[in-house]
Symmetry: C2
Subunit: 366 residues, 2 copies
Amino acid sequence: MNHVTRKGNRSNPAGKPDIRTVASLARVSIATVSRTINGSSAVSDKLSKRVWQAIEQLDYYPNTHARSLVSGRSRILGIIVENITNPFFPELIASFEEIAVAHGYEILVSSANIDNASQITTSVRRMLERKVEGVAVLTFGSEETVLDQLTAHRMPLVLCEFEVEDPAVSTILIDYSTGIHAAVEHLVELGHRRISFLAGPHTLHSAITRRESFLAAAQKCGLKIASNWIVECDHTLKGGDAGFGKLLALKSRPTAVVCSNDMTAIGVLHAAHKANLRVPQDISVIGLDDIAFTDYTLPPLTTIRLSRMDLAKAAFDALRLQAEAAANPGANPGTNPGTHASSGPQRTFPVSTSLVIRESTSAPPA
Amino acid sequence: MNHVTRKGNRSNPAGKPDIRTVASLARVSIATVSRTINGSSAVSDKLSKRVWQAIEQLDYYPNTHARSLVSGRSRILGIIVENITNPFFPELIASFEEIAVAHGYEILVSSANIDNASQITTSVRRMLERKVEGVAVLTFGSEETVLDQLTAHRMPLVLCEFEVEDPAVSTILIDYSTGIHAAVEHLVELGHRRISFLAGPHTLHSAITRRESFLAAAQKCGLKIASNWIVECDHTLKGGDAGFGKLLALKSRPTAVVCSNDMTAIGVLHAAHKANLRVPQDISVIGLDDIAFTDYTLPPLTTIRLSRMDLAKAAFDALRLQAEAAANPGANPGTNPGTHASSGPQRTFPVSTSLVIRESTSAPPA
DNA sequence: CTGTTAGCGCGTTCAA
DNA sequence: TTGAACGCGCTAACAG
């Protein structure tokens, strides 16, 4: 404790400006300063102007710790992601950060490995200690462990592709169907009939959804998909490489492959090259996510776009709704007055996907 | 304010456990609880055990906001990066996070565009408001603006490749020479004599250092580097693509190109493919950073490795030293007692580089 | 509309 | 060694 006791010393010229420093310079009470800053209650123009002037003059900014302590609101949102080496996640975090900051929230990022129990315990602990008002669990499906720990503390949450009874848990529902259906249709129109799917881990809800969307789309297009054309990978470069290797070993090979994410697809590009297969002349490849790199792979990758911006916005909206509701429990937003039995505030948030055609798809070899 | 006034209500069975909740359960004073948690002063084994037991039983964890408020230490470190689409930075952030968390610090990430003045003002403001104890400015060189604002607030800083008088500013000195020299030597040994360098922006200190290291290495190897073989790019995929385009227009083309970073090199791979040049048969390419993707480019990229882990550790060490020094000004670490005129605590931190040979380099065409 | 006052949860003096 | 009391900077009651 290095502050000399200075009870009642309202000028404090040396150190950082206080709310009291501002108050005395503006010749008002600290309450008035607080009110003008927060706009919590009307302040006369005259005083308000004096206060803002003092704030500017002193380069004053409020102490968020004190603020959080007294208000019970930290204005921090947590975000947990996995596998930071997939560029999709940094881009997602950046979008989330941008939106949150624009709305006056801070973010606390944790890139824990979701299957490492001690890591996720640490992650949860960090969120709890810093008193985040909600957590976006953007691990795309393997979130059971983190879920238990967080819901046990009544933490508002938003997840992907996984609906939960808990009223504090919202869900982002990504419409993979549209994008994946467009991809399959695109291949069929090019003349492909034999299409493979390199799936993600069966432990990820969204990977399962992606695979099912693919199968549904194939069926809709009247395609028969041999079961060994569906191979489970792990959403990494290496996994895509290895997964495509399995496809190569088949006697009856597909002419096109749709991948559960772009990393897998880039791995496939790599494997195809090693096998002296040209993309797209010998084999067509489609990814999913549309990360920045897909414009610069060889060849540029046709992919199913999943907007980071949309996803981030959905996550933020969900969390803010929860945080705001928790802050003023009386408001009861989202319910018509009079229909008090209605379903409460919005808890599912849709995000769409779409096909981006580049150069990794063409007609199959004759 | 949703807490019902409960002055002196030390049991508080419903809500989150308090330090007072712990104290009463352990039948000690709150001071004793504080002391056992922080180990600030000796507590008898008997009481200490009772306290820890109560903490566990209640699943208590301290309120960091209250802690920060009273202690003046937030235990938060800021990190400002640019261009999050370059995978180097996410990997760097993840390493920094891991180290910081392991040492009980939280991190506050900001991915502002350094040339956007309002964005960086926002970023600085965020750091200030949350009372971070130091900021790692890992934008690799274009940090003047952020620097002014932060040093004006006496914020401890660590930068790359840019030494500053201010005793609160530390510098990470990356030994590019060794890695770049190894790269040039590698090319020379393969038989190359005509080597190009695709530089980074001249506004980045580290980009300048990289270029100068290249020129020095070339000279050491007895190479003549035509001035139009040095082309300034911008460390992006697109920039590398365009930069290589300029090289192609030359009558006297180089047989190898060293790039200021991996993103540039991947752009070159792309451009070479478009120009029907085979890598490495027709042209050799070397990157810098060794991001995860370089293992999966076509062909896998020979590159100069700059360890994210080392860099993150250097940044953390620098900041912690500053933060600790600021917390207890009496300690005077890093000076021999008796030589009170010595230079004070460590302020420069070295990081090394090394060559990683993959498949994008070979002998030049005959 | 404005000021006074209590106390958010905790670290740290000072006495005992 | 331990405990009582104070105050970190701020917001939210409550008076006026």
